[in-house]
Symmetry: C2
Subunit: 490 residues, 2 copies
């Protein structure tokens, strides 16, 4: 029984939900706003974690772990931060339950009220900087380059699997530096790491840029972002890196002795990506048949399906299939051989198409006789029969081609959906249609807010690589030095 996927042009949002559910990636739980990440979805996250973790370590970072709970008062210490994060959050007020005196249920024990409420971390700057005060005394203790893999909670009212949930998984880097320029260098280095990861592993082209003041992280002096264009023409913020200046060092009184013996506040950064990336991955590549996975992040890159009538036929096929599997694994390709007799080949074809497995190999009795094997690509749905003797190299080649093809397809989609507009009417019209809209803006929050109210579009970023260009703000008519990207967003 094939699961049905709503076509994108019929109902994009339903299409997304159908993919998440149909490909067994995640589901809603009995706890409002919290998701269950199912094994296949989690396997993608594990791949992402493993690659990112390598990149973090290659750039000199180490992992550590800080408490899940943050005392309420910590939030009040950084003025901008408390407004951004301490409001919608999970608040722990008690530490004990007891049997009800009235009935069979259990109730909160009012005698076990905390003196100070604890907040489930929405992000860890405060608890980490409270800790760094003890770790940093001298310039010798710097830089401190630490990352944490963790769960965080933000009490979102409208949730969508992977894209916006109350609890989600992420990593958060928190670094401490002796100088401003070193901290800025780190902020930029990490947004580049994210960009490289998005492009090389997710096959997802991104625009690197900086956020306007109103879109900045609460507590940052500068926020760098990578923005990706989804298939419905909306932008998705896929990762951010924040230059926090001395804001948290001042809030938590973290000073160090310089080489010259002076006392100075420490400079800092933080940066993160989350399970939201899985949502971005889905909306970048998938089609109306289901999920499409780039080989570099697929839980298994190849599935082999046998076609047989008798056990005798299956035995012969098993032998060849297991040999192919071994040969592929030997060159580092991950393979699943699905010879379960509980499901028909047609069911398996549909299942692995829905799950986005990059390559399907099919082996029948005729193939065994002819020493052939049929290869089907998930990205372009091509089917070709190859001689089996060289199939390992062929698969390797095609996996690389799929990875490139997915990136190029996404890039060409973005290029086709990037627009340079120069009048207010064109702007409003294009924002409604979707895409990245490059336009001049006068640099003020007032105009930014006005545009947001009028069109629901926000400035996604001021691209790092865009050229200087004299122009006039489409809304205020004031002078502008360069274009910024407007779009509706997730």
């Amino acid at each position: 029984m094939a699961k049905k996927i709503t076509p994108r042009n019929k109902d994009y949002s339903q299409w997304y939900n159908d993919i998440v559910q149909g490909a067994d990636l995640a589901e809603s739980s009995g706890v409002r706003g919290c998701m269950v990440i199912k094994p296949y979805g989690y396997a993608i996250w594990e791949k992402m974690q493993s690659e990112l973790d390598k990149m973090f370590k290659q750039t000199g970072h180490v992992n550590a772990y800080f408490p899940l709970f943050i005392p309420k008062s910590y939030f009040s210490k950084e003025a901008a931060h408390v407004d951004g994060f301490a409001k919608e959050c999970a608040v722990i007020t008690h530490y004990r339950l007891k049997n009800s005196e009235k009935d069979n249920s259990i109730v909160v024990d009012e005698n076990a009220k905390l003196e100070e409420e604890l907040i489930v971390r929405p992000t860890s700057e405060t608890i980490i900087w409270d800790t760094y005060r003890k770790w940093i005394q001298s310039y010798r203790d710097l830089p401190l380059l630490i990352n944490q893999w963790a769960n965080v909670v933000r009490w979102e009212m409208r949730t969508r699997l992977f894209l916006r949930t109350a609890e989600f998984l992420w990593q958060e880097g928190h670094t401490a530096h002796a100088t401003k320029s070193e901290a800025i260098e780190e902020t930029e280095k990490m947004i580049k790491v994210y960009s490289k990861f998005a492009q090389d592993f997710m096959a997802m082209p991104v625009v690197m840029g900086i956020k306007t003041a109103s879109e900045r992280f609460a507590g940052a002096d500068q926020t760098y972002t990578i923005e990706a264009l989804m298939q419905d023409g909306k932008s998705l913020q896929a990762g951010t890196s924040h230059f926090l200046a001395q804001n948290f060092a001042k809030a938590f009184d973290v000073k160090f002795t310089t080489k010259e013996g002076k006392q100075e506040y420490v400079w800092s950064t933080s940066w993160g990506v989350s399970t939201r990336l899985i949502g971005a991955l889905i909306m970048t590549h998938s089609d109306d048949r289901g999920l499409v996975l780039p080989p570099n992040l697929a839980p298994f890159q190849v599935v082999i399906v046998p076609i047989y009538k008798t056990d005798k036929e299956l035995n012969k096929i098993n032998k060849v299939a297991n040999d192919v599997k071994l040969r592929l694994e030997k060159i580092g390709i991950s393979v699943k051989y699905d010879n379960r007799d509980t499901h028909k080949p047609g069911w398996k074809f549909a299942e692995y198409e829905l799950k986005g497995v990059p390559i399907r190999l099919v082996l029948g009795s005729r193939d065994i006789e002819n020493s052939t094997i049929e290869l089907a690509r998930r990205d372009n749905l091509e089917k070709i029969t190859y001689n089996i003797s060289n199939i390992d190299n062929k698969v390797n080649e095609i996996l690389e081609d799929i990875q490139k093809n997915l990136f190029n397809k996404a890039l060409s989609f973005r290029e086709k959906n990037s627009f340079y507009v120069d009048t207010k009417e064109d702007f409003i019209d294009q924002i409604e249609k979707g895409g990245f809209v490059y336009a001049h803006w006068d640099g003020t929050s007032e105009t930014e807010n006005l545009i947001k109210q009028k069109t629901k579009a926000t400035i996604r970023c001021i691209p790092l690589d865009s050229a200087d260009e004299q122009g006039y703000c489409l809304f205020s008519g004031k002078k502008s030095e360069r274009r910024v990207i407007f779009a509706k967003s997730y």
Copy 2:
């Protein structure tokens, strides 16, 4: 400035704290009962995770992720479970803070009270079985072999770093099976996986056994445990695997259709180990000089320290040291070359001894001339000078020897501290002195409780491999079929 370690025979508990702090493993945080796991301690946990995860996957398990929060009512569904876990826990009652009307602080918004309180998971059986109800319909959906890496919270009143903290990191396996015998087989398989991990990676001998009814997991019909003897003669429960029978399936109404078309409740298991293992690792091998790490779990297995006076000397040494490092890395050995000029060699020697790095290599100018290198073992403190040409193989050999030696030393310690006693007086005397005390027990909870009250000792386990032996309970005089292990414990 060397950090001081209190000797074990002076104050064992202070010795433990000194090691945890001195070796930079963890520290208390500003949040009551929650620890910060520092980078060096976390690196040991990452090694443990990576090896365990491989073993779980080799035995057919996959990872997934379930919500951090559990609705209060879920706990009431399994009678034994609620008593064991829902009492001392972190309770979320509100989901918003607001600015105080009185002063500058932020306060709980009483308008944002949850209809039903949420509990921060102390263990995930309830939320997972609420989910499994949707995943399991037919025998085709079984077995379900899932593991989760997560943080959990138990509101402990007396906490010790790694050994007992309010929040800790762990993995919890939750499996579902069609038959009782399959579930029991899984329970036993996983306690064997833990035992193998403890012995092969932690170099820590363990006794496998089953818990008595009063020491069982709340909700289990049978709990298997691995118990390790610490240097102070106390036992540490290092991992448990629970046969949950149909208890959670009944509580959450999880039935499946058998091959024969009947509806039956699912059988289940759960099993877990936690960051507590780091505490066990410390107390198994470390000495009065600091941490001692088995090579198989050391964040880096070898440290190279240069001894030089001039920059010219250092340049020469750098060249040779980097070459040695490369050669070692080529055969899979992890190496740190510490040529920082901010610290003297003596400081470095003390630091890496304290941190338990298995092998230290020292290179001076004389060594360069003679093509030699000095090797110091952390386990037995031996120092030998070797010719540099074959040092990679030598190091490899010695690492294996250290791993074996640590295990044998711990095993011999346990053997010397395992006692067979046959009178009440000897029992009380030996329990006071410490060690594993093998004694006859009549099999009743009454006697077990009596002994606990009298001596503070509990039955650590009924060992799986102990022989049948007729005897009489030391306290009640009733008949007994085999000896059980008594000890004081962590």
